[in-house]
């Protein structure tokens, strides 16, 4: 890959976009300088997106691919990924069968190889099962230019409309359990539950299956089976895909299966 800055002014064949600059910074300093120069009129190219399209009327396209944002690092029991890591790399990094299953439901191989985590997270909704798994693992996100990490939220998604993820941190990525129900084995589910055992004996649970639905809660071993909570969470989640009644009952079943799996995993690890 060329190590020099690439910067061109677009040929004026699109009269609605008279001038558009493309730049591929090779250092963070260079990025910063471009950010200062173009301020609000930047569109970031953060790897592959669902649909390659320039939105709005930016003055510059800043391509982030030379900034090592496609790296995966393991340290202190956590995994840190750059925002240009794609879904396939995420699956390879986590080595979790349940995450692999979620990624497989999310997309076929080509799309996994193409879609960056920045663009995935930006477009995710309550039916995005990889996001569900990331949420269950209490994943944290560092947005470009920010100093503090943050959890997944509508605010995070909104921020990504004109920004990018610099770093994704999965603390203590152990014991993920995921279960879902769709119309076919690889269909987007109408009910999905992911649960992850955390280092402090909590189990963090994320559930979804409807576009507008995001819910997370904790339970503790021996205290609560989460059944009442999850039924409550789904009590009003009805749309054209499934009724609330169905989702309540099936979410409870899936949660129970996830907890059994976590328990089995934990038991087998102790045995080892």
């Amino acid at each position: 890959m060329a190590q020099t800055r690439l910067c061109w002014v677009g040929r004026c064949i699109q009269m609605t976009k008279p001038e558009l600059t493309y730049a591929r910074p090779v250092s963070w300093d260079e990025l910063e300088s471009l950010q200062q120069e173009f301020a609000e009129r930047i569109m970031y190219l953060a790897g592959g997106d669902y649909h390659a399209k320039v939105k709005g009327n930016p003055a510059i396209l800043i391509d982030l691919q030379e900034l090592d944002l496609d790296q995966v690092e393991f340290a202190d029991g956590a995994i840190t990924l750059g925002g240009l890591v794609n879904l396939q790399q995420l699956g390879n990094a986590l080595e979790s069968g349940d995450m692999q299953e979620a990624i497989s439901i999310e997309a076929g191989v080509n799309l996994r190889n193409s879609l960056s985590l920045t663009n995935y997270v930006k477009s995710s909704n309550g039916r995005s099962v990889v996001q569900l798994c990331l949420n269950a693992m209490e994943t944290e996100y560092l947005i470009g230019g920010d100093e503090d990490v943050q959890a997944y939220s509508p605010a995070l998604k909104a921020k990504l409309e004109d920004n990018f993820i610099e770093e994704i941190r999965i603390p203590n990525p152990i014991s993920l359990a995921f279960a879902s129900v769709g119309r076919s084995p690889k269909d987007q589910p109408v009910v999905a539950v992911a649960a992850s055992r955390r280092s402090d004996a909590r189990i963090h649970i994320a559930c979804g299956g409807a576009e507008a639905m995001w819910a997370e809660f904790d339970i503790y071993y021996g205290d609560d089976d989460g059944q009442a909570t999850i039924r409550h969470l789904f009590s009003n989640v009805r749309d054209e895909w499934a009724s609330a009644e169905y989702r309540q009952e099936v979410a409870a079943v899936l949660l129970s299966r996830c907890l059994q799996k976590l328990w089995r995993d934990s038991y087998s690890k102790e045995e080892l």
């Binding site: 592959g48 669902y50 320039v54 080509n110 193409s114 076919s184 054209e240």
Partner: protein
């Protein structure tokens, strides 16, 4: 900006705008193996390229992002081995395996699949089947069910490991991939018929050659876009196009005010169209979300899209009808109030009635009175989409003779020409329609749907215009399968004899009445016609089929493979299953007891013929019993059905297995209507040009027709150069629908080939005589490219050609023929399914689909089995996940291939096809149809298997988890003994 792309080890320097996608730039650079599926979420994978060795979607990157990466497209892998004096290394082993295995049907996704396989085999030379399926999971295919592509990749891997050299094209051999075949009747010995010849278009498609409509790039081509209605029902009060027209780069903007008001039907059917004329290119009223409002042509797609945004439309919203049960209610809003509306038969726009069918065979009420038990139930089947991977696409331009050329992805080129002429204000003789390769159609391209858009804009601008629908437009603005609400009422004796059978249908044609009458007629004719009763009822069956086909404010339905028949078999076969179980009879025995047998009338042929005079038809070949026997054996019915140990999964009490069957019948063409023509001429080297109007939409019909000609002329398939579907150069053919091509067009080819063969025999006899050997022409045998006298003397076909063209009594040996048949001999099939049901969630996983089919003599086993497999995959989707829904305002839920899920390679059940060959005297070399019947019985077989697994009697298709769960819940709440008591 200047862009440098490293593609196939070569650096391309090109001007590029930063907003251009990699897909756009690759195609602009002439790398046309990279296809567009029109999707916006990367879901189809047709645009796969290898980036740094990994398969990615070219639509998901801007071209500028690809600079500095190594790109590979199919253009760099293998090529035709014999190129005149130049020899190449030939095909890549993966290409070769795809060609030989029959993996290439329409071929639109083939480049993507081969690249995905290439990436896999570089990393893993010995993959398992599941690894191959995983590797292909990013490329959607609607034709193959992935069966043969997976076989091909495994075979290629083995060949690569063994370092096998590729063969020249003439040595390609598909016979290693042949399906199971069982002969019921005596099948005559043949040389070419019955052999798995490689498809005549496979080599070019395996190389990703520019064979499709959008692959022709003419200078100065404008891009068309269509403004579509956001309202389900509204009048257009005003349209202001001034801002759009003022946008630089816009060449034309057209609204209803700019076009002559010509009413027509988009249904691509023979004249007269058997349905109402109720559509305009553009109208002052919109009737569904997605209906056309305006056309734009511009220099680029981006400018055209921007222009659409600048068109100001003021709508006056009208009341909306989404539920067909509301269409004919008193006071319902009238969807078609235009003065130009032309009725057909009993259509009545005053009450939103597009068509009406009333068929009574025998005395149904008497039959009910004679029954011991009467079973009644209502069933619902959904609207579903054809989901061909190549969107609708048309390119129009004026040729040098001022004739309008329409290059289009159509199944009906001759109907396009006839039906477009009045709409465009051109005589038929000034229109030429060319059908290149089509990336799947499945009925949706039996619609004259988009040609007018491009053509109007070409007329307006004088320039070539390309209109390619997006995936969203396919869902909201093309056609679909008619959804229906169907009530069954059946009388039976306690011994299982059916005394009367009644089907009452409410069919939803959507906003326009295309195919309304004929699709729904088929629903009854080919499903209800299978079961006539037993004993005396065989001679005098009692069948009633009533249907109302109504307008709603939803996208129009139309033709979809199966053409109404799958809608009939869901209720009919689910109903029969329930009756058999209620009577305590074996479900297979009950079906066969009442099914039609050889020598009996197709009952509907005595009463109905799509609005024309009925012509009673006796059915001669019925291989249903043999199909049932073979399918039963293959799926292990006797070991599984009723065996509790098989149904239970040890250690997993929440899972239950089930097994189900459905028996089905289709047709072979529309009798006394469908006509196809063929023309054959000999060339100097003893090869032949075969010209057919028939339309190969990926089914392999060009190959089949070539085989029929080759067999009859005693030459190899490679000696037949097949040219199809050009209204200027090929004879008329009604097009690819109604399972008619092999049966009708094939017989036309057979007739023409026989005439040519006779002329060759006469010429050979003259040559033999000149050499002193007296031979009767009728004694000359044509075989192995030779004319052979009874003595064994031979004259080569090339000699005969030279003799006739150059040496003496010169003449062009040629013939033309056409065929129309009074018969429509049905294929029959038994379809079996096994499923695994999660009884806690209702999730169903289909584990096996097996189909044993009587399609007469199979002309090409590999291509025929490909039809079965691909059809089963579509039927599987119909059974479990495919459905198009609308909210109360008519807004569609499904707009892409994510929400509208079609099966991927890595989630398919085991699929198997078995041919039970009868010999149909009226068909070419004994053949009947094969393409549509797989769609008919898989869904009810799965439904019956779910019932068998867990007692869930699901009445509404598809079998979604919630429907199964609700049905199980219903059982628990109301039927403690587990018996279905809803009758």
């Amino acid at each position: 900006m200047k862009l440098y792309l490293l593609i196939n080890d070569k650096t391309y320097e090109t001007e590029c705008h930063p907003t251009e996608s990699l897909l756009e730039v690759l195609r602009r650079l002439g790398l046309l193996s990279v296809k567009s599926g029109g999707c916006v979420r990367g879901e189809c994978g047709a645009c796969t390229v290898l980036m740094d060795g990994e398969p990615v979607n070219a639509c998901m990157f801007l071209a500028v992002q690809a600079q500095g990466h190594s790109l590979e497209t199919l253009e760099q892998f293998g090529q035709h081995p014999e190129q005149g004096w130049k020899k190449t290394e030939g095909f890549d082993p993966i290409q070769k395996a795809f060609i030989e295995s029959g993996s290439i049907q329409c071929g639109y996704c083939t480049p993507a699949m081969i690249l995905a396989a290439k990436a896999l085999l570089r990393q893993n030379p010995d993959p398992s089947e599941s690894e191959v399926r995983e590797a292909l999971s990013g490329v959607l295919c609607r034709c193959t069910a992935y069966v043969k592509p997976v076989q091909a990749v495994l075979k290629a891997a083995a060949d690569i490991r063994q370092n096998k050299k590729t063969s020249p094209e003439s040595e390609l051999n598909a016979q290693a991939y042949e399906p199971e075949m069982v002969a019921v009747d005596a099948i005559p010995e043949t040389e070419i018929i019955g052999k798995s010849e490689v498809k005549v278009d496979a080599a070019k498609l395996a190389q990703g050659k520019p064979a499709f409509t959008a692959d022709l790039q003419l200078p100065g081509t404008l891009i068309a876009k269509v403004l579509r209605s956001p309202y389900a029902h509204a009048r257009i009060v005003s349209i202001d196009t001034s801002k759009a027209k003022a946008l630089p780069g816009v060449a034309a903007v057209m609204t209803w005010e700019d076009l002559p008001r010509v009413v027509y039907s988009t249904a691509g059917q023979s004249d007269p169209i058997p349905g109402p004329l109720d559509m305009f290119s553009l109208d002052n009223k919109v009737r569904f979300v997605g209906d056309r409002v305006a056309f734009v042509a511009a220099e680029t797609a981006e400018i055209a899209e921007k222009a659409l945004e600048l068109i100001d439309v003021i709508y006056e919203p009208l009341p909306v009808i989404v539920d067909p049960r509301d269409s004919m209610k008193e006071g319902a809003v009238r969807i078609h109030d235009e003065a130009e509306y032309v009725n057909f038969a009993e259509s009545n726009p005053l009450i939103n009635l597009a068509a009406k069918i009333r068929i009574d065979i025998g005395d149904v009420e008497k039959g009910f009175a004679e029954a011991d038990r009467i079973f009644e139930q209502e069933y619902v089947v959904p609207k579903v989409h054809q989901a061909h991977i190549e969107p609708h696409v048309a390119l129009t331009y004026w040729d040098e003779d001022d004739r309008l050329v329409i290059r289009t992805s159509t199944q009906v080129p001759f109907h396009v020409r006839r039906q477009m002429a009045p709409v465009l204000g051109l005589p038929i003789k000034r229109i030429r329609v060319i059908k290149p390769r089509i990336g799947g159609g499945f009925g949706n391209k039996q619609e004259v749907l988009i040609e007018d858009v491009a053509a109007h804009l070409t007329i307006a601008t004088g320039r070539p215009v390309l209109y390619e629908m997006t995936r969203e437009e396919e869902f909201i603005g093309s056609r679909s399968r008619h959804p229906m609400r169907i009530r069954m009422k059946t009388g039976v004796k306690l011994d299982g004899t059916m005394t009367a059978n009644q089907m009452t249908v409410l069919s939803d044609t959507g906003a326009y009445g295309c195919h309304a009458l004929t699709v729904t007629g088929n629903t009854g004719q080919k499903s209800m016609g299978l079961y006539i009763g037993d004993g005396e009822y065989r001679k005098h069956p009692n069948i009633r089929f009533y249907a109302d086909i109504v307008y709603t404010n939803t996208p129009p339905a139309g033709a979809y493979r199966g053409y109404g028949v799958p809608q009939g078999y869901w209720p009919l076969d689910r109903h029969l299953e329930n009756i058999a179980r209620s009577l305590g009879m074996d479900p297979i025995e009950f079906r066969l007891k009442n099914a039609i047998r050889p020598g009996e009338f197709q009952p509907f042929s005595t009463a109905w013929n799509e609005g024309r005079e009925p012509v009673p038809e006796v059915i001669h070949t019925v291989g249903l019993e043999q199909a049932v026997a073979e399918g039963r054996k293959a799926i292990g019915w006797d070991e599984k059905f009723g065996n509790e140990a098989w149904h239970a999964i040890p250690g997993k009490p929440h899972l239950r297995r089930g097994i189900g069957v459905a028996t089905v019948m289709q047709g072979s063409a529309i009798p006394n209507l469908d006509m196809g023509g063929a023309s054959i001429k000999i060339n100097d080297d003893g090869s032949f040009n075969l010209l057919v109007g028939a339309t190969d939409l990926g089914t392999g019909s060009d190959t089949i027709l070539g085989q029929i000609a080759a067999e009859t002329l005693g030459v190899k398939l490679e000696d037949i150069i097949v040219t199809s579907s050009d209204t200027d150069t090929t004879p008329f053919d009604k097009g690819a629908y109604a399972s008619s091509t092999t049966y009708i067009s094939g017989t036309a080819v057979l007739k023409a080939a026989k005439e040519v063969a006779q002329k060759i025999r006469q010429r050979a006899a003259q040559i033999f005589e000149a050499k002193g050997e007296k031979v009767e022409p009728s004694d000359v045998v044509l075989r192995d490219r030779q004319a052979i006298a009874p003595s064994g003397s031979q004259i080569s076909m090339a000699q005969i050609a030279l003799d006739s063209l150059h040496w003496q009594n010169q003449e062009q040996i040629m013939a033309s023929a056409s065929h129309v048949s009074p018969n429509s001999p049905p294929p029959f099939a038994a379809q079996f399914a096994t499923v695994l049901v999660d009884i806690e969630t209702g999730q169903v996983k289909v584990e096996e689909l097996i189909m044993a089919v009587d399609s007469g003599v199979i002309i090409n086993p590999v291509t025929a089995s490909g039809q079965i497999e691909g059809g089963l995959a579509q039927a599987l989707g119909y059974g479990v996940c495919e459905e198009m829904r609308y909210d109360a305002n008519g807004q569609p839920r499904e707009r892409d291939l994510v929400n509208y899920h079609i099966f991927r390679a890595d989630e398919m059940p085991e699929i198997r096809s078995i041919f039970v060959q009868t010999y149909e005297e009226t068909g070419p070399y004994g053949a009947k149809a094969v393409a549509e019947i797989p769609l008919d019985g898989a869904a009810p077989a799965i439904g019956n298997a779910v019932l068998d697994a867990c007692g869930a009697n699901v009445l509404d298709n598809p079998l979604t988890p919630e429907r199964i769960w609700q049905a199980m819940k219903h059982n628990l709440e109301s039927k403690p003994n587990g018996q279905d008591q809803r009758f």
